[in-house]
Symmetry: C2
DNA sequence: CGCTATTTTGAGCGCCATCAATTTGGGTGG
DNA sequence: CCACCCAAATTGATGGCGCTCAAAATAGCG
């Protein structure tokens, strides 16, 4: 039972029965903003980006999903964000109808969903702080610190931190331009806070100093 | 039963029994970031601001609460944001312990809470877009449009839109400075999109044009 | 009616977005 | 395996916009 993570005890069987799996290639779209929400998903491998867009094409990435994360926590009838694969990904799909039925039978399942929704809301609020009040280098430092923290939470190889997403994605996540993202990377590297074997791998050289630059209050540990 | 809004049918009685009420003066603090979460609240009158702060004093306001809104949707054990009164306010308080007990007995109550949490998450994501990708005038226009929409949702007098919060609060909500907020107000006024009888009352003169400036995709109506 | 806090307006500068060029990397076919 | 090609990332130069500092005007309040 490694294929679909984040499930537990008795409801596993019931879930397995209604579950289908899905694979996505790089940059493939899973759901589009505004589409009817017919299924919910759990990511089992890879990484997704959630984004909302303006009519003129500007885009804000609201979050990245890592294995074990749920998709569609925020939504009722329609998807409020688009979801695309950053890299080759795999996920489990559950029809919302049947999911709701299971949710009735297994209160624990519902509790867990609610719990994840609250966690997502807290994460979104922290992101608001980053977007609204941090300077570019601070934003990037926060991003690396938080991503690194999530990497260990998800029991993935901690160092170097993998950055599957491109600079454009990071820019749209942090509310800046690609050029500024790149320049901020260079600054952190020149201060020897990080090392960059290649653009998609970051070694955190001085974690304490990086957190200091990030300026975020550390939530635990 | 007008004192505590947003409640329904059979659980009203049970809720009333565990409920206590509380009043706040302007700028009075209700909960502080990091405090243990012992009670949940519903706002019945006035307005609250939710905020998170950086060690160096910078502040991001994550949202404003209007009558009928819940406080503490995002939190488990501790409050992840501070809550202060913008203007004189009144609210109902429920001990979390007893609230959880009621939540067991009345699934509908739990559903409604979960529903509000999802709505808050969607709102936070829209706020992320505003913070990350809009220019100052666009931010302010969005703010006015959304506030106006919420004012009618909450069945309050629609025009002029009341702005109980000061310019500093708006700045910390939109991720800009007081000066830029003020200049943006002036720009909107000079283009005759709004009128400002006084700093805390805005008349939307040209709603369509204001929405165009806001640049947000309209979610319905 | 005078005081203080808030808001608005003003001047100047620094930083980030923009535009542009260069370098690097990844992927494909020879 | 290497050469080539295109996309992605970095670096460079410039200008505009929003932040900072400062002053004036307005509002709110006793």
């Amino acid at each position: 039972m490694a294929v679909c993570a984040a499930l537990e005890d008795d409801e596993v069987g019931a879930l397995e029965r209604i579950m289908t799996s899905r694979r996505l290639g790089p940059n493939e779209t899973l759901v589009e903003e505004g589409q009817a929400r017919t299924r919910v998903f759990t990511l089992t491998a890879g990484m997704l980006r959630l984004s909302v867009a303006l009519p003129d094409g500007r885009r804000q990435i609201t979050g990245f999903l890592m294995p074990g994360d749920y998709l569609g926590l925020a939504d009722d009838e329609v998807h409020s964000a688009s979801a695309e694969a950053v890299e080759p990904s795999a996920l489990c799909a559950f029809p919302v109808r049947q999911m709701e039925a299971l949710t009735e039978r297994f209160p624990k399942l519902r509790d867990r969903l609610h719990h994840f929704t609250r966690a997502a809301l807290r994460q979104a609020r922290e992101h608001q702080l980053i977007l609204g009040r941090l300077a570019p280098v601070e934003k990037l430092a926060s991003f690396l610190v938080l991503l690194s923290a999530r990497t260990v939470e998800h029991r993935l190889a901690p160092s170097p931190v993998r950055l599957p997403m491109g600079r454009g994605d990071i820019a749209d996540y942090l509310g800046m331009t690609v050029e500024t993202v790149s320049r901020s990377f260079t600054k952190l590297r020149n201060q020897n806070l990080i090392a960059m074997p290649d653009p998609h791998a970051i070694e955190i050289v001085d974690a304490r100093a990086l957190k200091a630059v990030a300026g975020l209050p550390d939530h635990g540990s």
